[in-house]
Amino acid sequence: MTTTLETPVDDAPAPEAPRRRLPGRQVGRFLAYVVLVFFSVVYLYPFLIQVVTSFKTNGDATNNPLALLPDPLTAAAFGRLFDTDFGLWAFNSVWVSVLVTGLRVFLDSLAGYALARLHFRGRSAVFSAVLAVMAVPGVVLLIPKFLVLNQLGIYDTPVALFLPLVADAAGIFIMKQFFESVPASIEEAARIDGAGTFRVFWSVVLPMARPALITLTILSFQASWNELPHFIVASQDRDLYTLTKGVATLTTGQLGSGNQFPLTLGAALLMTIPVAVVFFVFQRYFVGGANEGAVKG
């Protein structure tokens, strides 16, 4: 059954013949599993340690870093976490991420649609500019971003937290590529019926773009939720700390600063949960590209 599923039907019998004479294949497959299991341990063990340690006492975490059973089991670290500003940081992260994601998806779709479908003078120049902006490495923008926020007088304000993150060239590119892959005939029919450009875009084109919109939503949410350097240069007010910036202050950067590991790992665990949920629910949109060719074999 499985073999026929994974090989093209028309020449399915062909590869069967030589397979039986190769005992090396068995060894190869065994080695493949050894490699995969080894790397799974390397990849899952840190997360396991993280979960377990957040339920330990400080002393237990420091003395038995390898133990996979907390002794005693305690949620005290989470209690202490809520004595910090963790709730405020989470609140800030939520509104910033939601706002950035919503605005990015809407404005990227508008711009992507314009570049894909609407004929206007200077369109190819605009597209070249978008490609050029995509090539600008984000880290070299840190000081420039501070300068413009400072000059506009919005440094250390809520606007500075989210507005610069909305500017996004990569999303325009993704939406443009998608809109170009959709047949134009449907929109043309709607246009002949007399619908305006925005009407056509909003009620005909966008509903068809669901897969691309979901992909862009996920990428934008994840990027803004995990963002750190921008928040560092955009504000210093403690009331404007997001989760990334706030949790970063729990460890004063230097290693060996106390042994509050259950607290820091608990914070790291909690801040990972929203992205993890999004990841597991929408996983096929993350790995969609990889799955695309699966049908072909």
Partner: protein, 386 residues
């Protein structure tokens, strides 16, 4: 029929449907600009104008007080660039140390993450059970935040932490990772008897280019930087693995089967069929790797702050502290532009190498890029300034 008079050229080439189109074209022109306008304004305001402002600041001695765009700020020409590139002094020594650290970092991270990503993709592309589980496990760190991962690694690599605990089980006395500034090459050379790391040969310590001795340039990454390298390879390999997996789906199956019929063994098949098909993706992964690794900031900020003994200092982090901690804004902006130039040069070299090959390969790479963009958030991370 036509509301707006169409230009003569348009009329000449107009098809029977042309008159209707030209009226919609005028409307489309307005709609096109107004659709694109919000993002164009934001990109102009938060990408293009800031770059121009920073370039101006890099030519001044602005110290962070008031606005850098008034007459009170001193114009110093390219002095800031000279201070970090050509003039002997502490500023250049720090910047060159940061470049050295980052170069060793790139030299190790890019090959390691590419090799692991390719290896895992090849294994996962064979007939394996629980493929989805393994893929998820390897990819998951890519989507989690650098803060969460850094906190976990601080715990794992602490002096009495899990990594040293595991090393202890096999009888190795692990180092105090994040506070160990000894260079790996210094240690290896010492171990092989080439030199004594405590009293290095004078031939190496006496001179060297750009303000650092040969001994310093050739230190290799420090133990602390090596721990950061492990962290980053661990985090990013999964994302690149997805790109390779996507590309492997495109390897022509009939060619591979023909090779099997011809009696090619698996290594020959890999060399002759799989590797050529993966070449564009390999180039893409290396390019993205180069761009990303020269920008390392988060992990340094979170874990080591450039310590110990400046061995985890990177240009991005040094630029940040020069501005926000030391108030040397002009110099910090100059560092950003040098870093920008390094990345642009490396990407151009890569692009030049790709242009060398036939158009088909290029087209394929573009397709792979688009697919990878959809498949991986990695790309947007880079753009978003990670």
């Amino acid at each position: 029929m036509t509301a707006a008079p169409a230009p003569a050229g348009a009329l000449a080439t107009a098809s029977p449907r042309g008159s209707g189109r030209s009226s919609s074209r005028a409307g489309q022109g307005r709609a096109g600009w107004s659709f694109a306008a919000p993002q164009l304004v934001l990109i102009g305001l938060f990408v293009l104008i800031p770059i121009l402002m920073a370039f101006w600041v890099s030519l001044t001695d602005w110290r962070g007080r008031g606005s850098p765009f008034t007459g009170q700020v001193g114009f110093v020409g390219f002095d800031n660039y000279a201070a970090i590139l050509t003039e002997p002094g502490l500023a250049r020594q720090d910047f060159m140390t940061a470049l050295r650290n980052n170069a060793w970092y790139v030299l190790l991270v890019v090959p390691l993450q590419t090799a692991i990503a390719l290896g895992l993709a090849l294994v996962l592309n064979s007939k394996i059970r629980a493929k989805g589980f393994f893929r998820t496990a390897f990819y998951f760190p890519t989507v989690t935040s650098s803060v969460a991962i850094s906190l976990v690694f601080i715990f794992l690599f602490t002096g009495g932490g899990a990594v040293n605990g595991l090393l202890g089980l096999v009888g190795i006395d692990g180092p105090n990772w994040f506070s160990d500034s000894r260079g790996l090459l210094h240690l290896i050379g010492d171990g092989l008897g080439f030199w004594d790391a405590d009293s290095p040969p004078a031939a190496l310590t006496d001179g060297g280019p750009l303000g650092l001795s040969w001994w310093d340039w050739l230190s290799g990454p420090s133990i602390a930087l090596a721990a950061l390298i492990l962290l980053v390879v661990w985090t990013s390999a999964g994302g690149y693995m997805l790109m390779f997996l996507a590309a492997l789906q495109d390897v022509p199956n009939d060619v591979r089967e023909a090779a099997v019929m011809d009696g090619a063994n698996s290594w020959q098949r890999f060399r002759a069929v799989t590797l050529p098909a993966l070449r564009p993706t390999l180039f893409l992964v290396i390019t993205l790797g180069l761009i990303g690794t020269w920008q390392v900031f988060d992990q340094v900020y979170l874990i080591s702050q450039g310590n110990p003994a400046k061995t985890t200092l990177t240009p991005a982090f040094l630029s940040y502290t020069s501005a926000f901690v030391s108030g040397q804004w002009g110099r910090a902006a100059a560092m950003s532009f040098v870093l920008f130039a390094i990345i642009i040069v490396l990407t151009s070299v890569q692009r030049f190498l790709m242009r060398d090959k036939d158009a088909a390969a290029e087209k394929k790479a573009l397709k792979a890029t688009q697919r990878a963009r959809a498949a991986s958030s990695k790309t947007t991370f880079f753009q978003a300034g990670r």
